[in-house]
Amino acid sequence: MRELMYLQAINEAFAEELERDEKVFLMGEGIQTGTFGTTTGLVDRFGPDRIMDTPISETAIAGAAVGASLMGYRPVADMMFSDFMYIAADEILLKAAQWRLLQGGTQQLPCVFVANIGGYRKLGNEHSQCPYSMMLHNPGLKVVIPSTPYDAKGLLKTAIRDNNPVIFLYHKGLLPVMGEVPEEDYTVPFGVADIRREGTDVTVVATSFQLFWAEAAADMLKDEISIEIIDPRTLEPLDIDTIMTSVRKTGRVVIVDEDTERCGFAGELATQIMERGFYDLDAPIKRVCAKNYPIPGGIMEKFVLPQPEWVVQAIKDVMVD
């Protein structure tokens, strides 16, 4: 099958959905040029009214996306770095997420917020975060964090077609990664986890870029430990059933997630697993997350962001007794 880079897969998903539905439009800072290539070239095909370069006004971009979605458009707000979404927290976490319910549940808000996540580039706290736990914490948003070109394209198309606000977060570290992407139209449904590798000793739930660490660890340990790796792909809706089926089989769990540990997705998932499968667990669940510090600039980030050896260690830890 044809291979594309993750960033090309995203770009192609945009192009196809722009083509398919004239209500779809994109807006964001410099998107006609495209800071990360995900929107590059689209303006040549769809024109500046549908690929809108905006002023540096994150709050207005996000709020305008919400507004336009209420009037039947399907805006995609490109927020560039997900860290900049803090600037539009009211617009994204309260307006986009909660408007529908607060007005009685009769409206539709089909908008997508797209942004990059992730560290390992020594850029410091405001260009490195994975702030999706905050988005999960404020009910009303669907949250999508694809780890492959295939999923990036298929999930982005689903996101744009969804009648609810969706957060679509692509990882900087994945942008140049190649993978198979069919030529035909396809979508990937929300709420269906991907079992990336089957195993019987330990369940490793890993997200986005962290799947690299999980797979590297599984490779390293393959002669000793049989590891099942699960990529939830969407964090809301979350395919807890697939995870629980795996947990019931292995009894041991490591969660690898790049967002900050405290009050993060990993703790949430650990608690949900415990609530549902306490008696199936043979050892305490281990979290491998960004440690509870701001992400420093420079090389010190290596002490904060999850490292491959932390995953190996966590897997060994849950195998004890």
């Binding site: 009214d49 002023p55 207005a60 336009a68 209420l70 529908r100």
Partner: protein, 326 residues
């Protein structure tokens, strides 16, 4: 826009109905029928009523919190029954009992309200963008208080509206105070309309106690926007006769507003002023005035009956249905 006799009467009727609903809301809050809180419109009805009465049904409005949007809704032609039912927590409300003082009436171009002041600005930019894109001539009229104008969201939305020439009219209801803060301590110039000059946006300052002056200024701006000439700014100098919210002290910087201050404001009651002028001009007779008052009372009674007969929502499943659209 030229206003005929019918137009003037419509404005007057909407003002009277607004005040009747405002008083009802105050009473119903006291008796526990109305839930949460209420911020009375008395003295500040004209900007909302004047700014909405002559809009197209599909024009979009973002109501200001004062009177919880009653002046704007009534002007826009919404029957307030289901809005008031919502505010009383009833299942028959516009928000199916989920919204409280928020609630949307999409078919009247009211997509709903919010609790954070100033979040109306980016949303209005989005509504304006959609209106421009769909090309049907829809206009967005965004109402907000003097205090709310200090939110940074206005700058972003106003700039976006100006640079993209969006069909938006910003209507500032400047009643001189924001909760306990006088506007002269929150903004350095006399007129908030100066804010428009940062974006080369046309602006006007009007007597916000004169409902006709408001309607004229807003409708001129609306015509401009409809013709593709972009956004503008209308500042209405108005008043707040009572305390910020029911149960709140009527203070500025911790000191009581004096009875003289209030009495002076009340001299320029927008309804009294307009009634006097309509009676003088012979547009209304004393009998008309009487009848309009009685009709308003009847409407309130009918609304109260509707609310009282409506059930409270009582099904948690409503939440699941309301969380996500299909």
């Amino acid at each position: 826009m030229e206003f005929g006799k019918e137009d003037l009467i419509k404005l007057y009727v909407n003002l009277v109905r607004t005040r009747a609903f405002d008083r009802a809301a105050i009473k119903w809050l006291a008796t526990g029928k109305l839930l949460s809180f209420y911020h009375p419109a008395e003295g500040g009805e004209a900007p909302g009523v004047g700014g909405t009465t002559f809009l197209r049904k599909d024009d979009v409005i973002s109501p200001h919190l004062r009177g919880h949007g009653l002046p704007h809704m009534i002007g826009k032609g919404v029957d307030p029954k289901r809005y008031m039912a919502e505010h009383c927590g009833k299942a028959t409300g516009f928000g199916n009992g989920l919204g409280g003082f928020h609630s949307a009436m999409d078919e009247f171009g009211m997509f709903g309200g919010t609790g954070t002041l100033g979040s109306c600005f980016p949303l209005s930019a989005g509504w304006g963008l959609a209106a421009k894109k769909n090309g049907t001539g829809q206009v967005v009229v965004c109402f907000f208080g003097d205090g709310t104008s200090n939110r940074g969201t206005w700058h972003e939305a106003a700039n976006m509206a100006a640079v993209w020439k969006l069909p938006i009219v910003w209507v500032c209801e400047n009643n001189g105070v924001a909760q306990y803060m006088p506007i002269q301590d929150a903004y350095p110039l006399e007129d908030l309309a100066n804010m428009a000059s940062a974006y080369g946006m046309p602006s006007a300052v009007v007597d916000g106690q004169d409902v006709v002056a408001v309607a004229e200024a807003v409708m001129a701006a609306v015509e401009m926007a409809r013709n593709g000439d972009g956004p503008s700014f209308i500042e209405c100098k108005t008043a707040r006769f009572s305390a910020h919210g029911i149960g709140n002290p009527d203070k500025l910087h911790g000191k009581d507003r004096t009875t003289e201050d209030i009495a002076k404001l009340r001299e320029r009651d927008p309804i009294v002023l307009f009634r006097t002028s309509l009676l003088e001009k012979g547009v209304l007779t004393p009998d008309d005035v009487e009848r309009i008052d009685q009709e308003a009372v009847a409407e309130i009674d009918e609304t109260e009956k509707f609310i009282d007969e409506s059930p409270f929502p009582d099904d948690p499943a409503l939440l699941d249905a309301a969380l996500y659209a299909e």
